[in-house]
Symmetry: C4
Subunit: 229 residues, 4 copies
């Protein structure tokens, strides 16, 4: 990762921006067109999100690592693959990019820049879902980046398309995404009051996955933060 | 395969757990949202299962070989690529992981931990389907791992997405999956009484595929169990 | 291609058999479940066929070349990449495999072994479609195998999924497939009387593509029939 | 890029022709079959277009670079990777191929060769959408071709499938495509009067992406126009 931090932060901003535009925009389009059939809406939303995520990782991975997700950045810092001094810039860029992406989707679909979601997402089932979704996402990233880094973009896109369906929460699995989705009262929205519990479950899932893979598939680290599997 | 047996068994457990969570969870979500349209339910279920399977194989293949399936483990033992002494741990991990995965799906969707399926799956057509599905699955694994091992995750995911549609049984093709799906009275369930015949047909299909590929595409084996194509 | 002709013919038989089981079986399943919505039926049919085709090519390409299609075998013979003396065995295996695949789908879905289709497919639009579909299929094979042979399985699967939708005939593009689909009175069927014109259009499309690529992207040929791009 | 200009222009013509046949043809088929459900129509249209685009790029990339899009050709000329003297032939081939592709779709579906669209596509939201869609498309091409050129066909296909959903305009992102889609009064059409603003927004998005990546991920250029990342 030889790029300078400014370029990498801009990249994290851009990628998070497009990721949220894809999540929120495809939800709006799918809900408008599906005539009330929620399965069709989620099918379009999940396929569009997974495809966009694969394309975005392929596009930006060589510049910033294509995290687009605070728990990925934190886990990579814990594993010694991202420098702790770079973490604040990554997190700020991800959150800012996510909100700008929501606004971009709203502008494209002629909606207000931001408007708070009223979509209640509460209950133990949904929090377990976010734990499982984030645990699984980091497992996929750790396992696949260890043995076949070039396949990570495909593995992550496929995993997210599936996780939209097999978790009860439709798999947010990303604190920046969760925050920004509170600012859209459309298909992808989440009520602001429900955000903290979602993020808590995501952090817990990420922590358990990081610990497990530390034992299961240790990565050697050298002082330069380079990867050795 | 230099990892120790404990790490490999944990990996088989985790992979089987996520595989069943994906199969059962996406079936629950799809049935809830599709308003009674069974084609839409199966479309979501088949896309989610295939995508999850590709992601899981990419994630875990370098640790345990990513079998997640007793007939795959048995076939690899017959072909000399998995040591017979490792087979019991693999099979136990797969079955345990499968049941835990079903429970995880039920927790996420706020259902009982386990509840027996009442979904009857009987008849010669379905048993022929399981024979064909398993014969095909092992053919894909044998053929693709011989010439392009790096493409196995994609080939297996694509095959299963297709086989959900082209077999009358929606292609279980896995004894651990079949056992665990008896413990869920949801879209993916199978009545416990129908499980033995399904597993019998799967074993038969696997045996014929193993014999055929032994002749069609022989694999050299050395005493260390390493692969030579 | 060092395999002996028997193994290669068996491989062409098996691949064509699974291809037809996938086309016909997924059509039956999709029509049964979709409640009369033809778009949903074709969506499942096209995704299942494309995914199955990618998996089958990955599985069998290193043994027989994974033609599964008489016009591909003929074109490869014209280009000097398949020996003319092998062509009769390939064609016989493809046609026999295709019919056995239709029978296998029928057995799985508890239908008669064979029953003639009554699905009329006539008119200039459909014949133009078969010309375009086959021209495109061979272009994809020629172009992609020249520059990136390892991507052919993905390119062909993606092309066929698309061509089911963008041609008016749903893109048969294969004489063995066309013959065998006359023996099933299900979603994928074609009235026997309409078969000859379809095959004629396919041969014409294949011939034009072969001539065009002979000029556009010439392949050197040596006396052993090996590929040099 | 050693091929002569005639072969490359023919390739751009063929690829643009198939791209438009795929876009327009799959739209016609999907609208005919979907019984008025616009989400199902767009799902088929987006999957078919993305799959076709991936297959076409894989097929033709080694001959002409597989631009099929005037803004891609212009951006590659600005970046010094396509010679300016070749640009007129590329653009002419792309526009001619696009119109012939529309005619081919019309012939296959037994419609008039050309007939002007009456589909109004106006408003700031749609123009912002075309800006975003084209900015994103060029970002994907620049970013992915810099670090992993072999993944460009997959990244572009996945991006377009997603962008059909997450932009309000369904992501034309291509002036040749936009011009030709004015000549079809079917699902994919655009009223001729709305074409200039769409093309203006596309050029703006392309220009901003080109400038941004010039700073973010500079490419060394030598006098032969060869790529160095």
């Amino acid at each position: 990762m030889s790029s300078n931090l400014t370029a990498r932060a801009v990249t994290e901003f851009l990628g998070s921006c497009f990721l949220l535009a894809a999540i929120v925009g495809s939800g709006i389009m799918a809900e408008r067109l599906s005539g009330g059939n929620a399965a069709l809406t989620l099918l379009a939303n999940s396929v569009a999100t997974g495809a966009a995520l694969s394309a975005l990782i392929l596009t930006f991975v060589s510049i910033s690592g294509a995290h687009f997700n605070p728990v990925v950045t934190l886990a990579e810092a814990i594993r010694g693959r991202t420098a702790w001094r770079d973490v604040p810039a990554y997190l700020a860029a991800q959150v800012a990019g996510a909100f700008v992406g929501v606004a971009a989707a709203h502008i494209m679909f002629s909606l207000p820049l931001f408007f708070a979601s009223r979509h209640a997402r509460i209950g133990a089932g949904l929090l377990c879902s976010e734990f499982v979704a984030t645990f699984g996402l980091l497992s996929v990233i750790f396992g696949c980046s260890r043995s076949r880094p070039s396949a990570v973009p495909f593995a992550v896109g496929a995993y997210i398309t599936a996780a939209y369906w097999f978790t009860a929460s439709t798999s947010f699995a990303n604190p920046a995404v969760t925050l920004a989705r509170a600012a859209t009262d459309t298909f992808a929205g989440i009520r602001p009051a429900d955000v903290p519990a979602f993020i808590g479950a995501q952090l817990a899932g990420a922590l358990v996955a990081t610990s497990l893979f530390h034992w299961l598939a240790p990565t050697r680290v050298d002082p330069m933060g380079e990867r050795h599997s």
